[in-house]
Symmetry: C2
Subunit: 453 residues, 2 copies
């Protein structure tokens, strides 16, 4: 969102009412919040962190302009003193984050925000929205990449995503998770992504018959046409392409691929391959789409169905079988020390934290959730990087998309197979608490026992 005044109002009302109450009481001290997923969605063995780039842009731009202040004044809820404070508010805090593309787990802070409490509080809604969705989609894309096992896939989700920036962010997150490109032109421009496009059934229907439609399209794009062959009957469509082979060759046209968008791909793709090969069209690839997800792709790949690339739409951009990620933003520490919430099933881990990854023989073995000022576990690699200091983001921002993609690929390869699996089995990936965290929990538990029970 490029309108900072509007972005500042992208916040839940309670962030502002709490901020007003803090201000009224002079509580302006620093606070640390953890943004994390409380648990992994069903069938997920890991998450792929994503959305940091947007998050940092938001924090850098955060300001309430006159229009925003006028609206807030109209609510008759806030006094002028608080509105004056909002008018001068900027984000001046520090952010540590797991970089985009890195693999992460439930309970690990994806972002750790330390700032005067009002600044940190107001950012909650936007940060959750932005990191939650993109992490969800990068994770889904990584699963699809895993299923593809080296074959290629493309983001086709734009028409089914939940809005315009969902589609823009889905294309980017999909790229980080492993997609070759996207069908969405605007995402190609904004994120420098490779564009992929074929033709629709309506084109065949408009032209009237497949031979004329295929010729018209191939002549318009002589070296990269993808012909959609299932408008009426897939094998018949393939035979139409085969029958055109000589004529296309004479015109020096080589279709790049045919696309199948319906029917039983496991049966149709081999038949189509045979028809094409028999016509000397071995170079024409087979592209498949139509309600695909990682499970269906995995089956096709395991069965060695001759499909070269996949277009994945709805299931990629909406998260498919896991359409939301339960991200939360929890107070971990304030100027009085570590904070701990104990609602049943919603317990938090107190303190300012770092996450370490421990590897054995080059493979991720377990993570350790530790206090930030605690000694690192031996051989542990710290996952949280300082990405913003005093409100200014560091060189790491904007993170390169290529770097994030490479990071994701390496992280996935380093995961134990049982964790990387589409349907993880056996023990979940272990995230241990450090001795420092355990000691802190123990001391808080005894203190609270006195205060409350």
């Amino acid at each position: 969102m490029r309108d900072p005044g509007a972005a500042a109002l992208f916040t839940d009302l309670y962030e502002l009412t709490m901020a007003a109450a803090y201000h009224r009481n002079g509580w302006h001290g620093p606070a640390t919040f953890d943004l994390l997923a409380r648990e992994l969605p069903p069938r997920r063995g890991y998450l792929v962190a994503c959305g940091l780039d947007d998050a940092l842009t938001y924090l850098e731009d955060l300001r309430f302009d006159d229009d925003a202040l006028d609206y807030l004044r109209s609510l008759d809820l806030f006094d002028d003193d608080f509105l004056d404070l909002l008018g001068t508010l900027r984000f001046t805090g520090d952010v540590w984050a797991i970089p985009e593309g890195e693999v992460a787990f439930a309970g690990e802070p994806l972002l750790r925000v330390t700032a005067p409490i009002i600044e940190a509080q107001i950012a909650e809604t936007y940060l959750l929205n932005c990191v939650g969705y993109q992490t969800l989609i990068a994770t889904k894309a990584a699963r699809i990449a895993t299923a593809c096992a080296g074959r290629s896939f493309v983001d086709f989700s734009s028409r089914r995503d939940h809005g315009i920036d969902a589609a823009m962010r889905a294309a980017r997150a999909a790229r980080i998770g492993g997609a070759a490109g996207t069908s969405l032109v605007l995402a190609g421009r904004e994120h420098g992504l490779e564009l992929s496009g074929t033709m629709a059934h309506s084109f065949v229907m408009r032209v009237g018959d497949e031979p004329a439609a295929f010729l018209a399209f191939a002549r318009a794009f002589p070296d990269r046409a993808v012909l959609l062959i299932d408008t009426y009957d897939t094998e018949e469509g393939a035979r139409v392409v085969a029958a055109l082979a000589d004529q296309l060759r004479a015109e020096r046209i080589v279709p790049a691929a045919v696309r199948l968008d319906s029917g039983d791909l496991a049966r149709l793709a081999p038949a189509v391959r045979q028809i094409l090969d028999d016509a000397g069209l071995e170079g024409v690839k087979i592209f498949a789409s139509g309600d695909l997800d990682e499970y269906r792709i995995d089956k096709l790949v395991r069965d060695a169905v001759p499909i070269d690339a996949f277009g994945v739409g709805t299931q990629l951009g909406t998260g498919g079988d896991a359409p939301h990620l339960g991200v939360v933003y929890k107070l971990a520490e304030d100027e009085h020390g570590p904070k701990w919430k104990r609602s049943p099933g919603k317990e938090t881990v107190p303190g300012r934290k770092q996450v370490y990854r421990l590897t054995v023989d080059g493979r991720a073995d377990h993570d350790v959730l530790a206090l930030a000022d605690e000694a690192a576990p031996e051989g542990g690699r710290a996952l949280l990087d300082p990405v913003m200091v005093d409100g200014a983001s560091r060189d790491t921002h904007p993170s390169s998309l290529d770097a994030a993609r490479a990071r994701c690929g390496a992280a996935l390869r380093s995961l134990p197979a049982r964790i990387r699996a589409l349907d993880p089995s056996g023990d979940p990936y272990e995230v241990c608490r450090s001795p420092g965290i355990d000691a802190l929990l123990g001391s808080l538990a005894s203190a609270k026992a006195v205060t409350y029970r």
Copy 2:
């Protein structure tokens, strides 16, 4: 999206490659596309049409600016002649639509777009994205309103929605479907929605104990404070409020409500009600949130659990158990006549169509899908209105949010109970084909039999 050049590029690459092929062959005749849901999502008995307002704004603004053209040129895919055409392209067509808030069913065109084929084609991606998501969420909201059975609910979804405009659109669609308001401040401003906000657990944790936190918050918002009482222990939290009752009364403060956000609401809410009533706080309402959806609310309401209002987040804004709607955009007619696609499981209904609703004793009985130029069935009410003519939208745009909400309420009340149910049973709502459509299908089937089999 307010940047028209960017909005124009919010299109799948194949829309542009098809357009280029149409242009290259001089195929500029008019075409009619239907935007419809092929089937209802699981457990849905109906849809609530939504998204028309955005769709019309997009069509009115559609233009490729110089930046957009420069990017397209850089793809080395389109010739100058086509890019020149795009540079002058405006949407000049007609749109008929089912108004926002009206109930609709699978197979019924939510939008019917008639325009020169290139204009109609390029709009496909944006229109599907915009109408599909908003219809999904308005439908979900209507289900939640049905479950609430007169109690109130509020959109709390912003942090879990799929991006910024998903949250903005969710708040608006939720209002049409029956929500009282939203927590999202920006949506309050943009759509004139009532804002709702309470406090977060972090506020209690930051202040340190509940008595101090409740007092600080109540003093800041003397006549509308909602106190969150489950940070440590819900019943204990209620007792804290009860213990403060006299002091609050002395300060002329009346908390509006307490909020429960975790635990077994069916057990906790009556206990909290009792504690509050015993302290003379009968006027303090109980507000519940925490992973609610229409099924959980329905159970609570049927069990007469004393909860006055619900905050619904993730499950509302992401569609919850139905996170996507299979909307498609199908060629129905071109200058050569009606068009028909026959892929297995993806058949279309040819021709330019109107939808009629037939009522019996004031209750919706069945719909009829008919040809637009066919006589209306007796007593049938036409659902598709002309909302844009020659590229200019009619007075009905922007449709009033209040009107759409009222339309939705009336449409829901007129539905048979089995269709409005959260888990519809018995016969689905019937959508019949008119004699004209049947005759057309018959004639196309015999014609195609000659051509293809």
